[in-house]
Structure formats: structure tokens, C-alpha cells
């Protein structure tokens, strides 16, 4: 079961890589694979159980898969430490502002829609 879903995921990734080389050099192969799989699921109308099992098992271990690339930081330790506070400052300010803005906007839009819905009924 798991293997069949995994096969599809790998196939779509390879399909994405082929498309990346042939047609769309600006998009990474796995992203094209993601879009293709999403379109395929829409067309098919359902996600098979084997695909769901494979996807959820892989995504459960996503943090583990991210560890080796993250270790690459050790190559840049000096550059990061040199600009540590500037980097953290930029990240904190932009995160705080965009987080509050996003939440506020979504809340406003939902409230507006509720009010409009009430007025109409």
C-alpha cells in the first residue's frame, strides 16, 4: 500500500524534473510535481488510500529530512554571527508585522461576510 503511493510521489517528482528541464526552468522540479499531482487529484476526484498513507508518512518525517540541509549552516557560521542582530531584527520586525496584518485582515473579511450574510437574510 505504502509502496504504491510512494511510487506515485516519486514518479510525479521525476515528471516535474523533466518538465523543469524541458519547459519551466524557473520552477523547481518538486514544485511542478506538486502542482501536477494536485491537478491529477482534482481530475480524478479522489485521493487513493495508498497515496494518503504514503503522503502522511513522508510528511510526518519532514522535520527529519530537513536536518541534513540545515546542518549546512555550519559553513556560514561566521557570516551569521557577524550580522546576527541585523538578521534577527529583520526577521522579527517583518514577522510580527505580517503576522498581525494577516490575522487582522482575515478576521475583518470574515466579519464583513457574516454581516453581509445577515443583512441579506
Amino acid at each position: 500500500m505504502l509502496l504504491r503511493g510512494l511510487t506515485w510521489l516519486v514518479l510525479f517528482q521525476l515528471l516535474g524534473t523533466a518538465m523543469n528541464v524541458l519547459l519551466l526552468p524557473i520552477l523547481p522540479g518538486p514544485i511542478i510535481g506538486l502542482l501536477l499531482l494536485f491537478i491529477a487529484l482534482l481530475l480524478r476526484g479522489r485521493a487513493s488510500e495508498s497515496l494518503q498513507v504514503a503522503a502522511s508518512s513522508l510528511l510526518r518525517y519532514l522535520p527529519l529530512l530537513l536536518v541534513p540541509p540545515a546542518v549546512g549552516v555550519m559553513v556560514y557560521t561566521e557570516a551569521i554571527l557577524r550580522d546576527f542582530w541585523a538578521i534577527v531584527g529583520v526577521l522579527v520586525v517583518s514577522l510580527v508585522f505580517s503576522l498581525v496584518f494577516t490575522g487582522w485582515l482575515m478576521q475583518r473579511l470574515i466579519d464583513t461576510r457574516k454581516r453581509v450574510g445577515k443583512d441579506a437574510s
Binding site: L6, L9, V10, F12, Q13, T17, L27, P28, G29, P30, I31, G33, L34, L35, L37, F38, L41, L42, A47, Q52, A54, A55, S56, L58, L59, P63, L64, L65, L66, V67, P68, P69, A70, V71, G72, V73, M74, V75, Y76, D83, I87, V88, V90, L91, S94, L95, V96, S98, L99, V100, F101, T102, G103, W104, L105, M106, L109, I110, D111, R113
Partner: protein
């Protein structure tokens, strides 16, 4: 006899599976520590990273060697990215219910999160390489790393920026949103998932189902949009 010990030790640390072994061990240890304490600063990826860097330095191995020997794990990142299509598809019904607000928030919030970070860094006089590395900071790491590589940033640094952003968002996000009067679970989830990706989504899941679902939705949509539009925008505008 000392000679043989030395030879065995060298054979072990240069074995092609050594990287996989220390990654698996470090991750499970950090995960157990996080599970036990639930302390937000103990993000498993962050702690594993520090443990492995320590081990590599102690063994006198450089990053290139570790990267080669951990390839068994990194090669799965591609299929894992493809796998994000499945939760996205399964949440389609929820998206349809709040389609308008979700899409508007996604576009406005996504542009703000991306452009503000780049603008601030530009104002600080950061070079192009750093700008391109900062651009995908609000996106889940596999996508951020792919995008950073695509637009000329540093992949490993992008992962660090993503990590720092996620941890800050998960630590301060819920309290900030509460103080600003954002109570609707969908709105809180959107904010956490869009700006603080997987770490924010994990935080949102603790607040409840609806909040978590919207965080996962915002995270995957933001990831796809960034992956599709950011390289395009960069090649057109800069």
C-alpha cells in the same frame, strides 16, 4: 592495539551510512526532549542541527562529507514536497467555504511577509545574495530552500532564516494575535501558517482543529504561491 582501534574508528566515521546514523539518533533524541518538555525553544530540527554540528566538529569531519553520507535522507525531500498536494486536496472543501477571504488574505499577507523582509534587509544595506535568501523566509523549508536556490540565494542560510522565523512566530504569535483582537480560529490559523509555516502550524494545531486546518492550508498555499510566483517576480522585476 591502539592502531586497530584507530582504524576501526576511522572506518566507522567514514562509512557512507555514518551521516544517516547520527541524523537519526540526533533527531530522535531532540524529538524526545521536545515531547517531554514541550518547550518551544527546543524545536527538533534546531536541536538536531546543533547536536550534529557538534558531533561533526568533534570527529573532524566537514560538511561536504556529512552531506554525501546523509543523502539517503535528503533525496526524499523531493517526493515529500510533492506529497504536500495530498493535504491540500483533502482540505479543498474548507477552502471553498471561505474562498474569498482566504485568497485575499493569502495574496495580501503573502506579499507583505515576503516584501517587508526584503525591503528591511535592503534598507539595512544587505547584498543581493542575502535578499534572495531572505525572500522565501515565511515558507516551509523544503520550498524555501528550493526557491532560494532557484533565485540565487544560499540554501543553508535560507533554512536558518525559515527556522528562526518559525520559532519566533510560534513563541510570540498566539499572544500577539490575542492582543490585536484576532479571535476567529480561521484567522488565527491563517496568520500562523502563512507567516510561520510548519512551526506555526504545529502551534495552531494545539489551539484546535479549525485553527490547525487553516494553518496547514495557509502554509501549503503560501508555499505553492511562493514557489510559483517568487522566481517569476524576481526574474521580471529585479
Amino acid at each position: 592495539m591502539t592502531l586497530h582501534w584507530e582504524a576501526a574508528w576511522q572506518a566507522v566515521i567514514h562509512h557512507p551510512l555514518f551521516g544517516v546514523a547520527i541524523t537519526l539518533a540526533a533527531f530522535q533524541l531532540s524529538y524526545a526532549a521536545y515531547e517531554r518538555t514541550r518547550w518551544v525553544f527546543l524545536q527538533p530540527v534546531l536541536v538536531s542541527m546543533l547536536v550534529i554540528i557538534g558531533l561533526l566538529l568533534a570527529c573532524g569531519l566537514d560538511y561536504e562529507r556529512y552531506r554525501d553520507s546523509a543523502q539517503l535522507l535528503t533525496v526524499l525531500l523531493g517526493p515529500a514536497t510533492v506529497a504536500l498536494a495530498v493535504p491540500l486536496y483533502l482540505n479543498l472543501r474548507r477552502i471553498r467555504e471561505l474562498f474569498g477571504p482566504t485568497m485575499i488574505t493569502l495574496l495580501m499577507g503573502g506579499i507583505t511577509a515576503t516584501a517587508l523582509g526584503m525591503a528591511l534587509a535592503w534598507a539595512f544595506g544587505a547584498e543581493r545574495m542575502i535578499l534572495m535568501t531572505l525572500a522565501p523566509k515565511s515558507v516551509t523549508s523544503p520550498i524555501a530552500m528550493l526557491v532560494a536556490e532557484q533565485i540565487g540565494g544560499v540554501v543553508a542560510l535560507a533554512a536558518v532564516f525559515v527556522m528562526i522565523t518559525g520559532v519566533i512566530g510560534a513563541i510570540f504569535g498566539p499572544e500577539l494575535l490575542r492582543r490585536c483582537g484576532v479571535q476567529h480560529p480561521a484567522a488565527r490559523g491563517m496568520a500562523l501558517g502563512l507567516t510561520a509555516h510548519a512551526v506555526g502550524t504545529a502551534q495552531a494545531l494545539q489551539e484546535g482543529d479549525e485553527c490547525g486546518a487553516f494553518a496547514a492550508l495557509a502554509m501549503s498555499l503560501m508555499g505553492v504561491l511562493t514557489a510559483v510566483l517568487l522566481p517569476l517576480a524576481v526574474s521580471l522585476l529585479l
